[in-house]
């Protein structure tokens, strides 16, 4: 049996007048159904670009992407639109609609699915509670703090109970407590609803906490894939090793707790 | 296409009036029509002036049957319009002449005007030819072969007296009278601007062929309403009104007996 999400020989470059910047250089990746799949790597490695290729916000130059039996890269516009309705995406820059209240932002993808007004209301209220923003229901994004915006983005991506969730640094703007609760939420929907989650993160704690598998992206190439355990215990790639070192450095920086590691 | 197109209106005393639709320039055309309106009412007709801002589409609208008649042109223009546009419009009677003249704020006679003088004249199709014509009469220029309704400065064959001509919207001319040595315009416009129209350098003769006429389609030429209208317009009473109202700047076609 083949994997749920398959990426084969994916290339992507950005051109401008002077030069061509090849960002993804032949990515092959297999993600099982029900995985919480972490992608880590340096800033600028191509993580966002990779994930954006999966729902074709970026058109790959070469290569194939499958989700289940559908070849995403060969869908026509209409089919793609239909398929996207069940792919949630959390953007690094939030990309909320300034013209809609928090409620309407989250309700938007449900409207696209033709969900009834009443059901939308129920669903959105539940999501707002989950991300701790019930009191901001009628606020506009322009008046929200960074973390609040990010939580709206998360709620919006989860609204349609997608079967695939693409999460681009979903907790980067959140305090530890909110982060924890969002991670628990992601784990919960993964367990309960079987959502496959692809999660870009630079918070190794987060990856360690909920990812079952991790890929390391280095300069547009996947240098390592494996269970989170393997990669955290014994990274093979350059990036993996450096990350682990830094991770340890942070954790063992017990300047005032005397190695106790509070 | 529909013979019963004319609408009926009721006056205060319950009499039914037939409406005649018209396109007529504002001054003096509409004012003259307004003056004759009560008399026309007595004959069972009323005039609806649908526009008083003339432009080049009026003859076409009349030809199309959208209105019953128009009143803003002189016969030479009409003839050429018919010629140019395959029109069949007819003149059913002249009413008044707006003589055209040359004036100056700097010189009191044509002889004083030096060589190289600047001259401004109206740029509209009904008046530019006339303006050029009086310049020719005066012996300042020689016009080539040109159609009445299409003349422009480009048709001047020879400048006998060296002058510099500018074409301007006839309504704009008044705003520039101090900037030109000579300005040519219709007498009525000169008067409207509060200027003395009798102080002309030279102007069209009394025998001007440029009487403003009532124009309609051939099938309406014998329309009793239009006939009645023309009759009233050409009456001595109307002529007197025109003379009085415009102080001689507008000259009625009908001679008034002293």
């Amino acid at each position: 049996m083949s994997s749920y999400i398959r990426i084969e020989g994916l290339y992507k470059s950005f051109k401008n007048r002077k030069e061509e910047n090849t960002v993804l250089k032949g990515i092959d990746l297999e993600i099982e159904k029900g995985d919480i799949f972490g992608i880590v790597g340096f800033s600028g490695a191509g993580k966002s670009t990779l994930v954006r290729c999966i729902n074709r916000l970026e058109e790959p130059d070469r290569g194939k992407i499958f989700i289940g039996d559908t070849e995403i890269t060969s869908l026509n516009k209409k089919q793609l639109t239909e398929r996207r309705k069940k792919i949630g995406m959390i953007f690094q820059q939030f990309n909320l609609f300034d013209s809609m209240t928090v409620f309407k932002n989250i309700a938007y993808p449900l409207k696209l699915l033709g969900v009834s007004k009443k059901d939308i209301e129920t669903k959105v209220d539940k999501l707002l509670e989950l991300v701790g923003l019930s009191d901001k229901k009628n606020a506009y994004p322009g008046s929200l703090s960074g973390g609040q915006k990010q939580r709206v983005g998360i709620a919006r991506a989860l609204a349609t109970d997608p079967d695939v969730l693409l999460s681009d640094e979903a907790t980067s703007a959140l305090d530890p407590v909110s982060t924890l609760s969002i991670l628990d939420l992601l784990e919960h929907i993964n367990k309960e609803l079987g959502v496959t989650i692809i999660m870009i993160t630079h918070e190794l704690e987060a990856a360690k906490r909920i990812c079952n598998r991790v890929a390391v992206l280095e300069n547009g190439v996947i240098t390592e894939t494996g269970t989170t355990r393997d990669i955290f215990l014994d990274p093979q790639s350059n990036t993996g090793k450096i990350f682990l070192e830094v991770y340890k450095e942070f954790r063992h920086d017990n300047s005032f707790t005397g190695g106790e590691g509070i | 296409d529909s013979p019963e197109k004319k609408s009926k209106t009721k006056t205060a005393d319950g009499k039914e009036l037939t409406t005649i639709t018209a396109l007529a320039d504002l001054t003096p055309h509409s004012e003259i029509l307004e003056y004759v309106e009560p008399k026309l009412n007595d004959k069972g007709y009323t005039i609806d002036i649908v526009s008083t801002a003339s432009d080049a589409t009026w003859n076409e609208k009349t030809q199309n049957g959208e209105v019953d008649f128009n009143f803003n042109q002189h016969e030479p223009y009409l003839i050429e319009w018919n010629e140019i546009n395959n029109g069949t419009l007819v003149n059913i009677g002249g009413v008044h002449v707006e003589p055209i003249g040359a004036y100056s704020e700097k010189y009191t006679s044509a002889d004083e005007v030096p060589d190289g003088a600047t001259v401004v004249l109206p740029d509209d199709a009904t008046n530019e030819y006339r303006a050029l014509r009086i310049l020719e009469q005066q012996g300042w220029i020689k016009l080539g072969n040109t159609e009445n309704a299409r003349a422009s400065v480009a048709d001047i064959e020879e400048y006998i007296k060296p002058i510099e001509i500018t074409e301007l919207d006839s309504y704009q001319i008044n705003a520039h009278i101090n900037e030109f040595d000579v300005y040519i315009n219709n007498t009525n416009k000169v008067i409207e601007a509060g200027l003395d129209a009798t102080k002309y350098l030279f102007r069209e003769g009394e025998d001007s062929p440029y009487a403003n006429i009532i124009v309609t389609t051939p099938d309406k030429a014998d329309d009793p309403g239009l006939k009645a209208l023309v009759e009233i317009l050409q009456s001595e009473d109307t002529a007197k009104f025109i003379l009085d109202k415009y102080n001689g700047a507008v000259i009625p076609v009908t001679k008034v007996s002293e």
């Binding site: 916000l57 398929r83 953007f91 609609f97 | 504002l26 526009s51 008044n174």
Partner: protein, 236 residues
């Protein structure tokens, strides 16, 4: 009363006399009617055309290059025409739609026809300004092109579209002078044909004053609504 015959202040004073306003007031209503209707038409068709242009443009949500070139050229043709020439084009159109080529309604067609292409370009410009991340978000959620346009782009751009409409509306108001050519009357016509051409300078003053007030109201309302929306959204 003309400046040429009377002292300045007397003319100004007379601009506020009953005599002048008895002529002007009905014209004000005519103008309001014309402006309101042609503005409404311009708004609807201008926004639709603007949407169409930006949807099919090269960077749009559904590019159709050939159609884009064609539509763009037609719009530009209309924009290139002097007002006078615009009138010729309106004549057959008005005759077709209304059965007559003069009157208030024919004039409304000419006014709208003159302003729609320009407003459409302003609308198109408003769409270009939307940050692409938002459109990507809409796409990622599986929005059809129509949904992107009507549920996302239009609401996001609405403050800018309103500001553009203010520009178009004011253009319409100042163009009502054209109404004279249609025998449609109104304030602008009085200003030009009586005030300017016939030297009723008191009427000129009064009618220009009315025009200024109308424009001022349009501007204030446009700014107000646009800013209210931006404030509501905490964007200014």
């Amino acid at each position: 009363m003309s400046f040429l015959k009377f002292p300045f202040w007397e003319v100004v004073k007379h601009a506020f006399s009953k005599e002048v306003w008895d002529v002007l007031l009905p014209a004000v209503w005519d103008t309001l009617y014309m402006v309101a209707l042609s503005a409404a038409i311009t708004l609807v068709l201008g926004v639709l055309l603007g949407i169409a242009l930006s949807v099919i443009s090269k960077e749009g949500v559904r590019p159709v290059p050939i159609l884009n070139e064609t539509a763009g050229t037609i719009v530009n043709c209309l924009r290139s025409l002097p007002q006078m020439i615009m009138i010729i084009i309106t004549l057959p159109l008005a005759r077709m739609l209304l059965g007559q080529s003069y009157g208030v309604n024919a004039c409304i067609i000419a006014l709208a026809a003159s302003c729609i292409p320009m407003y459409a370009r302003l609308v198109q410009g408003a769409f270009v300004e939307i940050p692409k991340g938002k459109i990507e978000a809409a796409k990622a959620m599986g929005s059809s092109s129509a949904a992107i346009v009507f549920n996302v782009m239009l609401p996001e751009a609405i403050p800018s579209i309103i500001r553009g409409f203010t520009v178009a509306l004011i253009g319409i108001i100042s163009m009502t002078a054209l109404a004279g050519s249609f025998g449609a009357g109104g304030i602008g016509d009085i200003a030009v044909r009586f005030g300017f051409n016939r030297f009723y300078h008191d009427m000129l003053i009064a009618s220009v004053l009315v025009l200024i007030v109308m424009v001022e109201i349009a501007q204030i309302f446009g700014d107000l609504i646009s800013n209210l929306i931006l404030k509501k959204r905490h964007l200014i």
